[in-house]
């Protein structure tokens, strides 16, 4: 089993309060994905990015055009990840501004083909379709491979137990299984480095 290449799993959490329900959901998802990968004989490398820690740097990047070293490390981790769990609170019928700001600053092709699990938290279940009408189109635009199950957790879900059909615990497990299967099915990912391997001039242009 040790012959299978390890996979990097990055979690982006846009929760604001501490402790945050969004982070709580993110942690449950990452533990579940971690377990499914291990069951498949794959060693996961987990990294959690709390967007709150990068809030001023995200604004600065937007204004100056370049990331701080710390933010750059976070963005590079997302681009290099074999799988991504993206979790946001739902504000005003969509992802939070902080969440969108981060993904606005990941370069256009940075998520192409990447297995992504989308998840969100909110006060009531009435906002659950924001996953489908806001997050899924965003990641579809970025050409990410979003798994079929998105996980929405309303406040009431945290007191509903795990036995019932379609409970939060079961939804987490289903989504985690889909993400880990998607990660396992894909070769371990190494982003191309345009500086290490530049496209030669004559492939970019043939003088007449």
């Amino acid at each position: 089993m040790s012959a299978i290449a390890p996979r990097s799993l990055v979690v982006v959490s846009a929760g604001l309060s501490q402790p945050s329900t969004t982070r709580l959901l993110a942690d449950r998802l990452s533990v579940a994905v971690d377990q499914h990968l291990r069951d498949a004989g794959i060693e996961p490398h987990l990294e959690v990015i709390e967007l709150r820690d990068h809030a001023p740097d995200l604004t600065n990047h937007l204004l100056t055009g370049f990331p701080s070293p710390r933010l750059k490390a976070a963005i590079d981790a997302v681009i290099a990840a074999d799988g991504l769990i993206a979790v946001t609170p739902i504000f005003s019928a969509s992802y939070s501004g902080l969440f969108k700001l981060f993904f606005d600053l990941v370069e256009r092709d940075g998520l192409a083909g990447k297995p992504v699990l989308i998840a969100a938290t909110g006060g009531t279940v009435r906002h659950s379709l924001a996953l489908e009408h806001a997050l899924r189109p965003l990641f579809a635009y970025l050409n990410a491979a979003v798994v079929a199950t998105g996980v929405y957790a309303a406040t009431e879900d945290w007191g509903s137990g795990g036995a019932a059909d379609g409970s939060l615990v079961q939804r987490i497990d289903r989504a985690a299984r889909e993400l880990s299967a998607s990660m396992a099915a894909r070769e371990s990912f190494a982003p191309t480095d345009p500086f290490a391997d530049p496209v030669p001039f004559d492939q970019l242009f043939r003088p007449s």
């Binding site: 600065n60 204004l63 530049p198 496209v199 001039f201 970019l204």
Partner: protein, 366 residues
């Protein structure tokens, strides 16, 4: 090594007085800055090219021709000439003409521009930025080297039996710097032709600058133009100086806080830590600039941005005095020390080189 200044030519309100210069004042200020650059012993003045307010320099060779007539030694350059949206035939003609009028004191830096609508205003598509830079330069390169050119490309009407006039002065085309902040394709292009690569690093952290220049040097070697340390590298820089560093910070802060490019973003201190911006004493500017060599290796051209963000002309001229008197002489000495003998200077037109040699001989004789 060459030292100089480059100007974006922005008309920006001085945040401390609420006053913006008129276009007429700004254009004259750019000329005054260029003349002052020669007076204080700098080597290069470079103007930007823009086609939208609040910028004035839409016609670089007109301005540089005027400056050429009023200077003797200054090398006239651009930062940058838009290789994407200008007709390469017109660039070939305009800069060859300027070269004749300026006695060879001309080079230019090519860039793609940073204002999206300029592309459609000039009949081009911004999605073709890199292909335009490649094709237009391939044509420009030939127009300066072949007397009669037959050409067919994607982006302009074909040429059959075309001769670009005037021919470059003494048959030597102006030296070209390829400028790009973020595109490895342009570093690759500079390396392919064996020409200069300029990184306007003033808005970027040093590890990025390092990677771009390292790529250019490696590929320069790959294309057989010589070892990597003989590639021709230029860098930007951004400084504000007063005798006491606290005075520099106090005076510059309102300009930083309201500058169109970084106002409302990181603090002055954060920005100084992450980019080459240096606001402080002359010694701090010297120390910081000398570190650039550690980042990119021994290089050939250092241009400073001094006149932006609404700084008044008198202040910019004071900055030029400090640069010429206290900074550049020390940088020349320090950069020359430990510089390997095989590291070349930036190419000059033979006439300019001859004039420089004559001046040096006169200085020694006198």
């Amino acid at each position: 090594m060459q030292f100089g200044v480059f100007s974006i030519g922005d008309v920006t309100t001085d945040p401390t007085t609420g006053r913006a210069p008129s276009e007429a004042e700004r254009i004259q200020a750019m000329v005054t800055i260029a003349l002052k650059a020669e007076e204080v012993g700098l080597d290069v003045f470079a103007t930007g090219e823009h086609h939208n307010p609040p910028f004035v320099p839409s016609s670089p060779t007109t301005m540089l021709g005027f400056i050429a007539a009023r200077t003797e030694r200054l090398i006239l350059s651009t930062a940058t000439t838009l290789i994407t949206t200008n007709d390469p035939v017109k660039i070939a003609e305009d800069y060859a003409m300027l070269q004749h009028l300026a006695g060879g004191r001309v080079d230019l830096m090519l860039g793609r521009g940073n204002t999206g609508p300029v592309y459609p205003w000039f009949g081009q598509d911004i999605r073709n930025g890199i292909p335009l830079a490649y094709e237009n330069y391939a044509l420009l390169h030939r127009l300066w080297r072949e007397d009669v050119v037959d050409w067919e490309g994607k982006y302009r009407t074909p040429l059959t039996g075309f001769t670009s006039t005037p021919r470059p002065l003494d048959g030597v085309p102006p030296f070209v710097w390829h400028g790009s902040i973020r595109s490895p394709e342009i570093a690759e292009q500079a390396a392919y032709y064996g020409e200069g690569f300029f990184h306007n690093n003033i808005f970027w952290p040093k590890d990025h600058v390092q990677r771009m220049v390292e790529l250019y040097r490696r590929r320069f070697d790959h294309y057989g133009h010589g070892p990597a340390d003989q590639a021709i590298v230029g860098l930007g820089g951004q400084v504000f100086m007063r005798t006491k560093s606290q005075d520099a910070v106090r005076e510059f802060r309102p300009y930083f806080d309201h500058a169109p490019v970084y106002g409302g973003g990181p603090s002055l201190e954060e920005y100084m830590a992450q980019t080459p911006l240096t606001v402080g004493s002359p010694q701090q500017v010297i120390d910081r600039t000398l570190t650039f060599r550690e980042i990119v290796g021994d290089y050939q051209r250092q241009l400073f941005l001094l006149d932006h963000a609404g700084l008044p002309l008198e202040t910019v001229l004071e900055q030029l005095d400090i640069l010429g008197e206290l900074i550049v002489p020390v940088l020349r000495r320090e950069f020359a020390a430990n510089r390997p003998a095989n590291v070349p200077e930036a190419p000059l037109h033979p006439r300019v080189q001859a004039a420089q040699a004559a001046r040096a001989a006169k200085t020694v004789a006198g």
